[in-house]
């Protein structure tokens, strides 16, 4: 089991009333409400949290990035990854992930990631994402080509990591006269790639085809099982058997010394008016062409207020009840985690431990409790249940490095 810590790095000091008055807290909500004095304080708080994570023996730190919104103030995930590469010694630096379609020059990303891998002495996990819908808009990147750009940028980065330059790359969206970066990853054949996601079937299938672990981002147990069924089916079609080493799960868990404090702090998971990414116009989250065409009809109905959000909208109490948010003392949350492990069988688990305005003192205490009282038990259970991480099972970095592929039926000539 690989266990890691995650925070969205909330810009919790923004003027909430201004957001409510404007009616949106994303994309066009003015950055005049961003206070850099508070920003400086918070960035350093998050760095202190990450150092605590290493101190208490947690395996990894999960990082991400978002743009134009207070729900996440990390605008470039490789910045914190580079900082952590230098100031930590043992933790895995798990980027989930770099939004590939937003990159105009994926070779630059390949260089940055190679530098992080070398500086960290081989501790990088380089996840990739498509980027949120509104990030296509904030970056000015065509949402209709999002998936094509994702795959093409991925292929270019992996080629830059694994094939000696110089070479020329003439793609549909990326053209490079000379690819020859003088920085290549320390880990061979290349750093592990994990793919986080929520609902896109296309991404689950693509991840399974690459044999990259898929990290389900706080999906319900029922939806998570559907994701694994699709992953397992695709893996079988590709000739391998998938297992816990292919499965990751991000859970929202806040622990404190007493239940009342834990529940009070866990309520902050809904600090953005109950929306993960804050208030926003639906068309920002799903610009035309970004979403799966199979979801077009359901989405347009939602976008004009004729139906509920296909992703669902639960109250805080409902989320506590269903286990989508776990809060309490370590002893109180452990049985819920055990249930999650038994039902979804992940080999990678990220804990999104706090959000919003949780104090730095409580955040650090939560990390300490996770490291010393929660995760040791989770590790024991993971051994008992056979939930091995990709590192423990030494699984191949990509399908092409597999040595265990079953031969499929041969097509007739």
């Amino acid at each position: 089991m690989h266990l890691m810590y995650f925070t969205e790095q909330p810009m919790s000091a923004y003027d909430e009333k201004a957001g409510l008055d404007y009616g949106a807290t994303a994309l066009t909500f003015s950055n005049k409400h961003f206070d850099p004095v508070e920003g400086s304080r918070l960035y350093n708080n998050y760095l202190e949290q990450y150092l605590k994570v290493e101190d208490v023996g947690i395996d990894g730190i999960m990082l991400n990035e978002h743009h134009n919104a207070p729900f996440c103030m990390q605008a470039k995930t490789n910045m914190f990854a580079a900082i952590l590469a230098a100031v930590t010694k043992k933790v895995k630096i798990v980027i989930l992930g770099n939004p590939l379609p937003l990159a105009e020059n994926p070779v630059r990303l390949a260089e940055e990631l190679a530098m992080i891998d070398m500086i960290s002495k081989g501790r990088l996990v380089s996840g990739f994402v498509r980027g949120g819908g509104q990030e296509q808009l904030s970056a000015g990147v065509n949402p209709a080509f999002n998936r094509e750009r994702f795959v093409e940028a991925h292929d270019l980065i992996v080629k830059a990591w694994t094939q000696p330059g110089p070479f020329r790359f003439e793609g549909t969206h990326y053209q490079h006269r000379v690819v020859n970066p003088w920085a290549v990853p320390l880990q061979k054949p290349y750093p592990r790639v994990w793919i986080p996601g929520v609902i896109s079937k296309e991404t689950v299938i693509w991840s399974a085809q690459q044999r990259y672990p898929y990290i389900a981002l706080n999906t319900s147990i029922e939806d998570t099982k559907k994701i694994w069924a699709l992953y397992d089916q695709t893996a079988a079609e590709c000739g391998y058997e998938s297992g816990p080493e292919n499965r990751g799960y991000l859970a929202r868990i806040h622990v404190a010394d007493d239940e009342a404090t834990a529940v009070k702090n866990a309520r902050e998971f809904t600090w953005m008016q109950g929306e993960f990414t804050g208030l926003a116009h639906p068309v920002w989250a799903n610009p035309a062409g970004y979403f799966s065409p199979s979801g077009r009809r359901a989405f347009v109905e939602f976008a004009v207020g004729r139906s509920q959000n296909p992703r669902g909208a639960m109250t805080f109490e409902q989320q506590l009840e269903s286990g989508m948010i776990m809060a309490g003392t370590p002893k109180q949350v452990l049985p819920r985690i055990r249930h999650l492990l038994e039902e979804t069988r992940p080999g990678i688990m990220a804990v999104w431990a706090q959000d919003g305005k949780v104090s730095q003192k409580d955040s650090l205490r939560c990390i300490e409790l996770l490291g010393t009282e929660v995760f040791p038990q989770v590790r024991e259970w993971a051994k008992e249940l056979g939930l091995n991480s990709p590192f423990e099972s030494n699984s191949p970095v990509h399908l092409r490095y597999s040595t265990d592929l079953k031969k499929g039926p041969v097509a007739a000539e």
């Binding site: 994309l27 066009t28 808009l137 000015g140 065509n142 949402p143 209709a144 080509f145 116009h281 639906p282 068309v283 920002w284 610009p287 035309a288 062409g289 077009r296 009809r297 989405f299 347009v300 109905e301 976008a303 004009v304 004729r306």
Partner: protein
Amino acid sequence: MAPREVAKLVLVGAMGIKPPEGDILDQAIISYIDYPQAFFHERKSFEAHYGNVTTDQLEAWDIAREMSFRIAWKPYMYSQSLPHLLGAVKAPALLVWGDDDKVVPVSAAHRFKTALPNARLEIVKGSGHAVEMEKPSELAKLVMPFLAAK
């Protein structure tokens, strides 16, 4: 472009040129209904054409939106080259713009008139961007004699 193939040219609220003043309305950040409503001078004109918008219509608009992004995402709905190419169009051109075009600013009409060597501009009062839907008779009165003239 093959300008000699064009005998006469009618452009109604056309996109394609960067407006010297203002911007072409960006449909990417507004709703499926707000965008087509902006095509009309009066709300009642929109309602007369679309009434209660059906889900089929919304879906069609989303597909149209996706195609617009595919072909004209950046720069949005105009070409940097077009003003220079238009100089080769010797055919008579009629430019028609609504006086309340909230989608393509009327400054673009004046830019078209400058770029096309043989163009005339007519502004239709009380019309938005979709002149053909909001003031069809007025548009026909301009277009028919223009096309009929030798």
